[in-house]
Every structure is written in structure tokens, then in C-alpha cells.
């Protein structure tokens, strides 16, 4: 039994010796070498002399106390040799024990390397996330500032547009009013025509800027209603035919039998798109003519504007629908907003506007507008005798505009009363019991909305038409919601004015 135990103990000792390259060095209190047992060569300590200072060869012993037990893990004793070192006092001397732990060291090192790299990566990710959050916050701040700047710009343009539209109402209105009387005087007639052209150009510029601003802010709202599309196309052609004939061009209208009379769409915006495309076609065509043709397919209007011009420069075609895009190959004036607005308006309708083809022989634009068929409208024009029985009360704080409205409606045969202030308007309304009131929204003392509210509160149900130079979508919406029956935008179109007054004063 004793022999077996002794054999087992030797085997175990040999195994540990092989695996751990055990070295035991006996030292005195000052780490001076006394004797060694084990693998001295493995630790680079083969030729130690008795009483040799061990700290000179084993630097890590410096500063330690040989009489104090201590364990140092994973000590790099020499390059490639890592050991756990134990200092064990025993009697008058001490033992320094070495156990090779290279395998465990390598395992630990790999594990720690991975852990540290992961932690570092985590730190970097956190830093990147923090940077991203900061960038995102800065972007949001910039975006907000940009939006505020854009809103300010839109407000400025809207206010600017309103201020310009009001005097234009008087300029264009009076020009139209006195035009028939100037027919006998060619100089006066030319002068009035020049005033009209200048005013309309200015109005066009303002409208384009306002539209671009509203579309950019996404505040655009359509006003869909039953529209006589055949009449509308005819009106547009008629409107632009003087421009075409001035340039020696023909203008023709080709309406397919498939085209219904009445469809549901935003008539004003459709007119605007058509005037823009047709106007461009006329402006950029030197000889020949322009054709406006329309048909109705798959629930949509297909309107083509075909000209015999020299075509659009291929390099410019891509930028054609970009805001402020202007070809360098022409001297024709414009804001460069017309086509971009027209496309945005057609898209707001759920439709499209694109350049179908362009060559040296001519250009074709195609406008597609989804539009449901609607019941037909019956246009009624009342007789002068009938109109004279109707009292129209107008209230506008702009003296020129008020004078114009009074002149236009009086000439049209209506009995007209007028005032400048909201309070006077309310009084006159009660006293006169008019058939219809025309009310400016921005009076000096009250708003048009205040007036209509007080009027309705007093039990007066007279139809009221709102007048304003502010053409923002939300104003039109507010007008409808406040109980006005119609909204006339300044500068006023005389035909539209008379038609509305006829319709609502009955």
C-alpha cells in the first residue's frame, strides 16, 4: 500500500513538474540566493551563485519583503515566460516559488482582449450616438429656423402681395371701366392698353410669387366646383387671342366630342395653368400658331397645347419645371415660376403636366386633370330692368376700390349704396335691407368676419360676398366657413363680379 502511495505521489509530482515547470528558490531575508530545486533553466536562472542578489535578475522582487508572504499572478519573468510567483517565509529563510501559467495567461489575455475591444467599441458607439444625437438636434434646430424663415418669407410675400393687389384693383378696374369711353381717342386708348398690360404683368408676377410661396409651404387648398370646361377653354383662348394676333399668330380651339360640358375641378387654378402654358406657347412662337385641344378619357381631361415654335433647347428641358428656371436662349421676360407652379397645381389636382415633345417643328405640353362629370350649369344674365330693382350695399375702406365698385355695378344697372366703415355698414344694412352686400375683409374699424358675425347675430340673412386681395387658401376657407356666399379676389374681374352679383342678388 505504501509502495503504491509513493508511486502515485511521484507520478503526480512529475506531472505537476512537467505542466507547471515548478521552481523553488530558497533565499535569505535580503533575497540573496541560497539554493534552488526545479527547472531553473526555464526561468533563465541557470547560473545563480550562492548569496547572489536575486533582485538584480528578477526585477519584480525589488521593493518586496522576503519575510512577508505574497502572491503575484501572471508575472512576465522573461520574454515568453509567465509565472505565478509566491513568496513563502519558512523558518530563517524564505522560498520563492514559480509556477508556469503561460497557457492560462494566453487564455486570459485573449478573453480580456475581446472584452476590452468590445468595451472600446461600445464607448465609440456611444460617442458616435451622442454625436449623431447632437447633429440631429442641430439639424432640427436648423430645420426649425429654416421653417421660421420660410414662414416669415411667406408672410412677407402674402402681406406684400395684398398691399400691391389693392391699388392694382383700382388701376386695372378703372382702366377697364373707362376703356370703352376711350375708343374714339387712339392716344388715350393706347395709354389705357399700356396701363392694363403693365398692371396685368405686375399682377401676374405677384400671383406667381404668392402661389410659389403657398405651394412651397404646403398650405395650398383646391376649391373644387362644377365648371363648364368648354366655356373655360373658350375663355382662355379668347383671353389670349389678342396676344396671339399681336404677334401674328393664329390660335385655335379643338374640343373633342368626348369632352363633357361640366366637370368638377378648381376652375380658377385650371384657368391659371392653361393661361400659363398657352401664354408661354404664344410668347415663344415666332410664326404659325397655337392649338388648344382637349378630350376626356378615363375620367380625366387631356388638354394639349401645341405650338409651331422652334422648340425648347434640349439642355433646358430637364430644368423646365424647376422654380426660377429660365432659358438663356431667350429674351422673353418672366419670373421662371410659371411652369413649376402649373405642374404643382396640376399635381394638387391629382393630375400631371409634362412636356410631351419638342423639336424644331414645335412643342406640345400635355395637361392631364382627373375630373368627374357634373350637372350642367345654367348661366343666367339678368336684364337691366331687373337689376335696377336690386339694392347692393358695398363696404370697402379703400376709397378708390369703393368708387370703382360703385361705378361698375351702377353701370351694370344695379342700385348701389356704399360706405367705408364696418359700423356704418351694419347700420345701413338694417336700414336699407339690401338684396346683397359686398364686404371687404380688412376694414379699418372691423373685419369683414366681425361684420358678418354681428349681422347674422342680429337676424339679418342677406347674402354677403367677401372682397379681399389676400388669396391664401386659408382665407378662402375662412370666408366659406363664416357664412359668406362667395369670395371675390382683388383685382376684380368685371365679368366675374357682375355674374356673382347677378347670381346672389336674386
Amino acid at each position: 500500500m505504501t509502495v503504491v502511495n509513493l508511486t502515485l505521489a511521484r507520478a503526480l509530482r512529475d506531472y505537476v513538474q512537467r505542466r507547471s515547470r515548478v521552481l523553488l528558490i530558497e533565499v535569505n531575508a535580503g533575497f540573496r540566493f541560497l539554493r534552488a530545486r526545479g527547472d531553473v533553466r526555464h526561468y533563465g536562472l541557470a547560473r545563480l551563485q550562492v548569496l547572489e542578489d536575486l533582485t538584480a535578475k528578477l526585477h519584480f522582487l525589488h521593493g518586496l519583503n522576503a519575510r512577508q508572504p505574497v502572491t503575484l499572478s501572471f508575472v512576465e519573468v522573461r520574454p515568453g515566460v509567465v509565472a505565478d510567483v509566491h513568496i513563502v517565509p519558512a523558518g530563517d529563510s524564505s522560498w520563492v516559488l514559480f509556477f508556469d501559467v503561460l497557457e492560462a495567461y494566453e487564455r486570459e489575455r485573449k478573453l480580456q482582449q475581446r472584452t476590452h475591444e468590445t468595451l472600446l467599441l461600445n464607448d465609440r458607439l456611444k460617442a458616435m450616438l451622442s454625436d449623431l444625437r447632437q447633429t440631429q438636434a442641430e439639424l432640427q434646430r436648423s430645420s426649425l429656423e429654416l421653417k421660421q424663415a420660410n414662414d416669415s418669407k411667406a408672410r412677407l410675400i402674402a402681406s406684400f402681395g395684398h398691399e400691391l393687389r389693392t391699388p392694382l384693383t383700382a388701376i386695372l378696374g378703372f382702366a377697364a371701366h373707362v376703356k370703352p369711353r376711350a375708343a374714339a381717342d387712339p392716344v388715350l386708348e393706347r395709354g389705357i392698353a399700356a396701363v392694363e398690360r403693365g398692371g396685368e404683368h405686375l399682377l401676374n408676377l405677384i400671383d406667381n410669387l404668392l402661389d410659389a410661396s403657398v405651394l412651397e409651404l404646403g398650405q395650398f387648398k383646391l376649391s373644387i366646383g362644377a365648371t363648364d370646361i368648354r366655356q373655360l377653354l373658350g375663355e382662355v383662348a379668347d383671353l389670349l387671342s389678342p396676344l396671339a394676333s399681336n404677334r401674328g399668330l393664329s390660335i385655335s380651339l379643338e374640343l373633342d366630342a368626348s369632352l363633357p360640358t361640366c366637370v368638377l375641378l378648381d376652375a380658377a387654378r385650371t384657368r391659371q395653368i392653361l393661361i400659363n402654358i398657352l401664354g408661354n406657347a404664344i410668347k415663344f412662337t415666332e410664326r404659325g400658331g397655337v392649338i388648344l385641344c382637349a378630350d376626356y378619357r378615363d375620367g380625366a381631361l387631356q388638354i394639349s397645347v401645341i405650338d409651331t415654335g422652334t422648340g425648347i433647347d434640349p439642355s433646358f428641358q430637364k430644368a423646365l419645371f424647376q422654380p426660377f428656371a429660365r432659358s438663356t436662349h431667350t429674351s422673353v421676360r418672366g419670373t421662371g415660376l410659371g411652369l413649376s407652379i402649373s405642374r404643382a397645381l396640376s399635381e394638387a389636382h391629382g393630375g400631371s403636366l409634362h412636356l410631351k415633345e419638342s423639336s424644331a417643328q414645335g412643342t406640345t405640353f400635355l395637361l392631364v386633370l382627373p375630373a368627374e362629370r357634373s350637372v350642367e350649369l345654367v348661366a343666367v344674365r339678368d336684364s337691366l330692368a331687373l337689376r335696377s330693382t336690386r339694392t347692393i350695399l358695398i363696404c370697402d375702406d379703400d376709397a378708390d376700390v369703393l368708387a370703382l365698385l360703385v361705378a361698375l355695378l351702377t353701370d351694370a344697372g344695379f342700385h348701389v349704396e356704399s360706405c367705408h366703415r364696418g359700423e356704418d355698414f351694419l347700420e345701413q344694412c338694417h336700414a336699407l335691407k339690401p338684396n346683397l352686400v359686398l364686404l371687404d375683409l380688412n376694414l379699418a374699424d372691423l373685419t369683414g368676419f366681425d361684420c358678418i358675425r354681428r349681422l347674422r347675430a342680429a337676424g339679418e340673412d342677406v347674402p354677403a360676398i367677401a372682397l379681399s386681395a389676400d388669396n391664401r387658401g386659408d382665407v378662402a376657407q375662412a370666408v366659406v366657413e363664416s357664412g359668406f356666399v362667395d369670395f371675390l379676389l382683388k383685382p376684380l374681374q368685371v365679368e366675374r363680379l357682375i355674374h356673382a352679383v347677378d347670381q346672389w342678388s336674386r
Binding site: 521593493g63 508575472v75 495567461y105 480580456q112 464607448d123
Partner: protein, 163 residues
């Protein structure tokens, strides 16, 4: 020549091993290699006409000192606290380690190194921090093991104060 033991303390990956490599052999390795246990180097320097053999203990990075770490600290005449200037948290670790080391070793000399000063764009510990620490009586240096900036100066400063 007197022989003095110093220890480098700091969080992992702050550049302790690289600082020693720059000071002892004037080299720099780009790749990060973690230190397990302890690695000992020596360098003989001459400060104010006195030769000193510095036994430099490169301890594995950690955020706190364990009982094993205290064994490594035994007999140290001074220490170097290292923080990574691009990781603010390592400066807090250095302060914690300083408190523990001071408790164990008593009032021995030490220096503070704000390492990786070359990575100016990623810096989280303000450039003025070293100056602020100096104003509080600490010896602090902005160092770069990559460029060698202030490395020798910092070690020599400590060597000069070792008893």
C-alpha cells in the same frame, strides 16, 4: 545608483504599455494589446546629477484596485496615473485609483498623464485640465505615446521626486 519601483495605474486601453514602450525603448505600436497581470521593465535615468534605476511595473488596466493589485503595489516608491484624454470616464477612474493607491502606499510621489493628446478632435478631457491639476499641486501632463510628447518629461519628473 539607487533602484526605485514605480507602478502605472489606469483604466484599460489608456496607453500605459505604450507610454512605457515609448519611454524605455522609444517605440510605438499601433495595435492595442491588453496587459494581463504585470510586465516589468527597467530604465536607468539621471536626474539632477543622480542616477536612478527605475523598475517600472505595467499593471493590467482596471477601474479599481483588487487585493491582487495591492500585492503588485507593494514596495512602490511612486506611481503614474494614466487617463485617456478621449474618454472622460478614465479620468474619473484615475482619481479613484489615486485614492486607493494613496491609502495603501501613503504619501508617495505620483504624476498624472492625460494621454492620447494627439487625438485633438476626439478629446473629451479639456486641454486645460492638466493646467488645472497643476494649479491644485498635482504634476500633470498632456502626453502622447504616439508622438512622444511629454512622455520622458513626465517620467523624469517622477524620477526626480522618488525618495
Amino acid at each position: 545608483m539607487k533602484t526605485r519601483k514605480i507602478c502605472l495605474l489606469g483604466d484599460f486601453a489608456v496607453g500605459k504599455t505604450s507610454l512605457i514602450a515609448r519611454f524605455v525603448t522609444n517605440v510605438f505600436h499601433e495595435r492595442y494589446q491588453t496587459t494581463v497581470g504585470v510586465k516589468i521593465d527597467t530604465k536607468e535615468v539621471s536626474v539632477a546629477g543622480q542616477d536612478v534605476k527605475m523598475v517600472i511595473w505595467d499593471l493590467a488596466g482596471s477601474s479599481a484596485l483588487s487585493s491582487t493589485s495591492f500585492n503588485y503595489l507593494r514596495g512602490a516608491s511612486g506611481y503614474v496615473l494614466v487617463a485617456d484624454a478621449t474618454r472622460g470616464s478614465t479620468f474619473e477612474t484615475a482619481k479613484t485609483l489615486h485614492a486607493s493607491a494613496q491609502k495603501f502606499l501613503g504619501s508617495v510621489p505620483f504624476v498624472v498623464l492625460l494621454n492620447k493628446s494627439d487625438l485633438t478632435m476626439q478629446r473629451e478631457i479639456a486641454q486645460s485640465s492638466a493646467t488645472d491639476l497643476c494649479a491644485h499641486g498635482w504634476s500633470a501632463f498632456d502626453t502622447s505615446a504616439l508622438s512622444g510628447e511629454n512622455v520622458e518629461r513626465a517620467f523624469l519628473e517622477l524620477a526626480g521626486r522618488l525618495q
